[in-house]
Symmetry: D2
Subunit: 364 residues, 4 copies
Amino acid sequence: MSTENERELAQGEEVASADRRGFLRTAGVSGATALAGAAYGKFALAPVTPAQAAGSGSPPKLSEQKWWPSKWGADDEAGASNHMTPAKVLESIRWIKEGKVYKLGHDYESGMPLFGKRAFTLRIIGGPTGGPFGENRLVYHDEFLAAEIGQVGTQLDGLGHAGVQMAGAGDKSEMRFYNGHAASEFSDAYGLKKLGIEKCKPFFTRGHLVDMVPVKGRMMEPGEEITVADIRSALQKQNMQEGDIKPGDAIFFNTGWGRLWKQNNDKFNSGEPGIGLEVANWVIEKDLCLTGGDTWAVEVVPNPDKTLAFPLHTALQTQHGIYNHENLFFDGLIADKKYQFVYIFTPLPIVGATGSPGVPIGVV
Amino acid sequence: MSTENERELAQGEEVASADRRGFLRTAGVSGATALAGAAYGKFALAPVTPAQAAGSGSPPKLSEQKWWPSKWGADDEAGASNHMTPAKVLESIRWIKEGKVYKLGHDYESGMPLFGKRAFTLRIIGGPTGGPFGENRLVYHDEFLAAEIGQVGTQLDGLGHAGVQMAGAGDKSEMRFYNGHAASEFSDAYGLKKLGIEKCKPFFTRGHLVDMVPVKGRMMEPGEEITVADIRSALQKQNMQEGDIKPGDAIFFNTGWGRLWKQNNDKFNSGEPGIGLEVANWVIEKDLCLTGGDTWAVEVVPNPDKTLAFPLHTALQTQHGIYNHENLFFDGLIADKKYQFVYIFTPLPIVGATGSPGVPIGVV
Amino acid sequence: MSTENERELAQGEEVASADRRGFLRTAGVSGATALAGAAYGKFALAPVTPAQAAGSGSPPKLSEQKWWPSKWGADDEAGASNHMTPAKVLESIRWIKEGKVYKLGHDYESGMPLFGKRAFTLRIIGGPTGGPFGENRLVYHDEFLAAEIGQVGTQLDGLGHAGVQMAGAGDKSEMRFYNGHAASEFSDAYGLKKLGIEKCKPFFTRGHLVDMVPVKGRMMEPGEEITVADIRSALQKQNMQEGDIKPGDAIFFNTGWGRLWKQNNDKFNSGEPGIGLEVANWVIEKDLCLTGGDTWAVEVVPNPDKTLAFPLHTALQTQHGIYNHENLFFDGLIADKKYQFVYIFTPLPIVGATGSPGVPIGVV
Amino acid sequence: MSTENERELAQGEEVASADRRGFLRTAGVSGATALAGAAYGKFALAPVTPAQAAGSGSPPKLSEQKWWPSKWGADDEAGASNHMTPAKVLESIRWIKEGKVYKLGHDYESGMPLFGKRAFTLRIIGGPTGGPFGENRLVYHDEFLAAEIGQVGTQLDGLGHAGVQMAGAGDKSEMRFYNGHAASEFSDAYGLKKLGIEKCKPFFTRGHLVDMVPVKGRMMEPGEEITVADIRSALQKQNMQEGDIKPGDAIFFNTGWGRLWKQNNDKFNSGEPGIGLEVANWVIEKDLCLTGGDTWAVEVVPNPDKTLAFPLHTALQTQHGIYNHENLFFDGLIADKKYQFVYIFTPLPIVGATGSPGVPIGVV
């Protein structure tokens, strides 16, 4: 795709090596080095226990145990969207007191940052596309879009997006995703046969926003990790109780990094602040349905453990079926000091897609 | 696009002439014939008056007066989505008593009916697209979609979609859309400069479903018009009051035609039952924000007045900025006898797009 | 893709199971059954020896030996296009006596037959795309195409297109292509890193056309194999000498099947007559650069050996780097009884593409 | 498209305003200013007379007369490709003495310069796309491309690409192209109904290369015009006779600007040296079939007459049906001092496309 190439031509290797793919490559290389002699078993992955989540002493590790079957059933493909129930809807709407609706995402346009080689190409066909028809001389416009539709702009990662290659090096014979679903069974050139985004249930739940900017007094920096202590500081500033965050709720993080959107796309893509494995364990323990943020991965990049590449995608999505909503936008909520809202989002149900575009709303 | 061509090859002219484009062509031709000698002024279009809406005697006509400026302001691009206010949200949520969420649209897939030459082409790129990265050996899938994204499947027409060529024959020098916006000012090969779907506000309002199947005792037929009397019959059967349909609400029609979805796409596309100009005037008088249905145009096709092509698109969208949600799916609501619900839908805000895909939810 | 789905809806399983993918599935299933207990070593593949090519007695087998390194060098990616040399050009142009140029392929359009789920979607963007600019008020049109560009219509298969999975069942850990190049090294979501069509040298060589229609007295049928004896009969009818077919030349087969193009696409795709392993060995022995035909695979489909799927793609392209030009059109040559011509074709050098569209010319 | 946007973000207005669209806009604005009070009749365009071509005194003007019907017939859509005849082929091949084949274009890849908002997005689908099938366990790769296929990279402009808006300002009611074909009759969202690139005949003619770099002693600069005198100087240096350039031949210009390809795409796109109206008239008088060059428009940009935008596209393509081959590559020919060669190119015949990608060959 021209985007990356032009970027590389224009900016040289420093920036290129700092973008998402750069990180991926770096992690791949260092990982490969670090892996020398490492046994396959090291990466058997496991559920988080409360003890792990509590943290203390050594930094949290990515679980090393087999992560399936899911608690939602051995055949489940909906993951934590199974939390969506009538009871959760009724619990949520109690938070709607003003009737105000906030759009929590960005518009989709050619100037938005795109990761790696992803593309977003919109065309209006014809001028107009058709007509005039009838005595009313109706004319109409259609558009044509070519894009990584579920992986550009504000987007929800589906459970068929991120998985784990079980064996080392070039052995792609076993790649497992959420609930142990194997790529050999569902990966297909014309759409995923399992874990397509259409399996995800509409979200209608309580959302909690953690605004880190006042806590830090500034925009957070790439590689800077949000800790559980940070969350508690933010909640205190926002007059919220940690105990009020309940199973099936969604949690969102504002790092300030999103201000770079369309202002400095290269810097935006070059890394990001975000949550790490400690918070991942906290999210898993709290049994939430979704994490979200104003960044392109929600998790801290690069991870403090340089041998890992996007480990929260592994811990949350692959191991626990917890969704991730990326590139959100919270300015309206923050301006009105609305940190608790009803989060409503129905993924675009393209059969076999890896994710969904779309702007969720927050209602208060 | 291969779809239509193969279809034409397979089915011959009869079916091809019966699809949407067929109707358009037919209407164009008969319109042209009928137009012989007709003055340009005939189609100056005008707002509906209550008197017109009341109907009686002769069938309702498409307004012939200039339709701008809009009541929402001379620069407005949001049309009837301006009805969305905090008060409307608060009014709506009173209808949420069970917390049940219904998906009101279809999944997007290659087997769905597509109008004319529209395409929907999904590919998964690579296998996987990337990875493994890091010691966690993360791999991932991306999809790539090429499609008339806002005009396929369950979709909302934006106000930049349908307009009117003001002069006759081949003269495209003046094409007007909602609020008089002129194609010469906003039609652009890389996205509409005005009236893009991103201008439409998220819908969060009360939805009223009119189920015609029990009224008729059968699936309605192509060209069969839903009248105001039909609506009243349905409301009575459903124990609903017409007076309860308020400005800014949305109204939906179930004709049974949607059962052909993926079962007989050619028949589905060959025409449809739906509302006509009488109901259009009723909708305008009621000052609703949106119409929707289980068909691809919501309005009756062909129109009883064979000289007109999709006149409700002209009357509702172009002249009054009232949105239209096509290819909806009401089976769940109907099974539960839920005819009143909260309709929630946020269009996918692709800047400059002509419409939006996406599945709205109905909440009760 | 909608094409296949609509086709399946319209025609039912019989036809669907008879298209290319149908054959693939059938072959896969029967192959899997037949494979039960088969050792991996069985499919070590080997070069053809003259003895094998001579045939006689039992039918020819697909070589079972390792097919690399290539005779063109262990790193070679150009295969039999290496035959293209100045000497070959000078030898070829001796055949140009009239200066007449024949287009040997079809135009690209939405009504052409497409295999499986492949798509071809052309749009003109804007109307016009840009302008007016300057006092000369220049306006212009651009088109936008979304397609499996190297695998639709008249097309040349590149050497990165067809390969062999070395191990059984779902084990994709070792997939080898021409010259032993491994998918694990070159398959990439953004373009093949080796064996891209840009590595193929422009063809400028002598082409020999074998017209089977006069030999058979009719259009050949699906599954009907062209034998070496058939070739000899055709050459005799055409007053040509087998000995005149020299290393680096190209050979073409007209079966009559191409008359179904756009006339009955479903039948066209449902199978085809063509060359089998006997002729493949003859082609390999003759050391030709390319085979071509008026069908979508050039080889007989289904193969008389029902356990094999497109074995000539394996024998010729994968094992020997001999190219295949599909969906050609010879009517002009045949009408003028021109069976020997200069075949000139430069593949569209899209870096990392699997094949090339484009119409070769035959010059006499 | 993301390309342009990111470029604009990165580089600011200076560079953006200097790219092709920048020029277009500038020309549009200055043109508009200059046009104040200009009569429509000014741009009735006319054939060039030898007197005009001779030049002298005032600079040549763009013809102001009606340019149709074409000398190739009132219905002709093939333009100067009608020069391609058996006689021309026979005349050409006399130049083939060594049998050496030169590729005269660039590979297509994401890093190549793209004008304006054009896109080129290649994906490999699946990994592999299909298989394994049969006991031979055949697997295969397909690619998917989304691009302005006829207007990216090395490309030939078709006669449906550039036209003229006959009236001023926003009046698109009459836009004329080659041979007077009107956009109102052939411009269509799904492919041009006339003047599609499939109407262009395969080129097989004599090519003459004019290398300006030795004449100037350097790479030429943007806005620097190649004159007829320059051509004569180059021919003399190259030991060629102007009289040897015959009707139906093709002429090519090497400016050195092509060295920026992939090295500095922004500078490459920011303007270019090339031929002006004087040489256009010389080309028309010589009755050539095609111009080509190592730049993206072949003509000088900006034109010395700042009121004109790409006037050679108007003069050569629109008014005379003479083709233009852009972004060629002559390094091989120049290294071998081969300035006369057989130019062979068959446009990719996509029905209704505005141009063709593809690499021509030069044979000596």
